[in-house]
Amino acid sequence: MRIEVKNLSKVYNQTAALKDVSFSLTEPKIYGLLGRNGAGKTTFMEILAGHILASSGEILINGDRPFDNRKLTEKICLIKEGDNFNKDMKVKQILRSYSLFYATWDHQLAMDLIREYNLPLHTKVKSLSKGMASALGIIVGLACKAPVTIFDEPYIGLDAAARKKFYEILLEEYEKEKRTIIFSTHLIDEVSLLFEEVLILQEGTLLLQEGAETLRHNTCSVSGPITEVEQFLENKEVIKRDQLAGMMTAYVFGSKTEAKQAGLTVEGVPIQDLMIYLTEKKGA
């Protein structure tokens, strides 16, 4: 499924959640969609899934718009943080409803996951704990096997063990059948190893879209005496500078080998930190 975002904008009550964003997700991959709260991630995902309309611009999936488009909406599944399901319905009924809507629904997988997470089939959603309700969300997201599966911070209340299980199963299923998975999360450290491509949104604009490995390769933190560091930083894109007692640590897009040769102490930058520094203060 080829996803093209063209000049996408969305305005809510005078605030722009998305400002003229353009990018493409061309292949089935695991994409990490990162950014601070209010960056526009959820808005983007809702427009992609056809839940809401853009103010201007468009998203095209295989050339068509997803809003009210059965061909597309039955291939897209969006699981959000909460309010995914009618609270008065039983778990069993929700699974059955979804199985009728998604041709790719895997009933066996759903049952296996229900057992893994110990979800009571005949209980209403409103009687489930927060963790169990989230578990139901990710179970549905996984069992749908939709060609475009979107997870928008789906793990409120899920403990670390449950999350780990989720990542494992996600990887397993992804390996069996590649699809486009878009993952938005605040727990970046846990999931960053899964990403193939990373997109960072900031206040409605796209800051960065890059392969995960490329990012790990081309970003580093260099430390050393201020003058030496500054010399190295010339003509490079600097992300952030920190100073203490005549020493400076800078986070920069650059080659680690080059930095080592310049005699500086070099380390990699975890993607989570990268996100934090890049989105720290994007003023004019």
């Binding site: 695991i30 995960a212 790990r216």
Partner: protein
Amino acid sequence: MKTKLDDSRPIYIQIKEFIEDSIINETIKIGERVPSTNELAKFYNINPATARQGMNELVMDNILRKQRGVGMFVTEDAKEILIGNRKKQFYENYIVPLQDEANKLEITKDQLIEMLEKEGNMDEN
């Protein structure tokens, strides 16, 4: 063997290192099958594409050999090639930092040699 990979360095490089280390210390012997990309991805909870990238580079470096439908195997020359490469990097990675640190601490070359011989003596005991 690391239990968790480092997010700040390219994953495929860490995968390569893991396999290379295993070959050098003979945890995986010549001619043996190495873990598949799927097994690696599952163990480290990483994207299989990155695991694959690392393995493919090892194939290009002639460390691994791909046998279709069966898996990837360690080549005959693998250990030699790796040790050769490591030796070349030994100077850069170990000697130079050693000298730098020694200089910082004002340790003379003679004192360094004494220390090295001390290590050797302890081995003999």
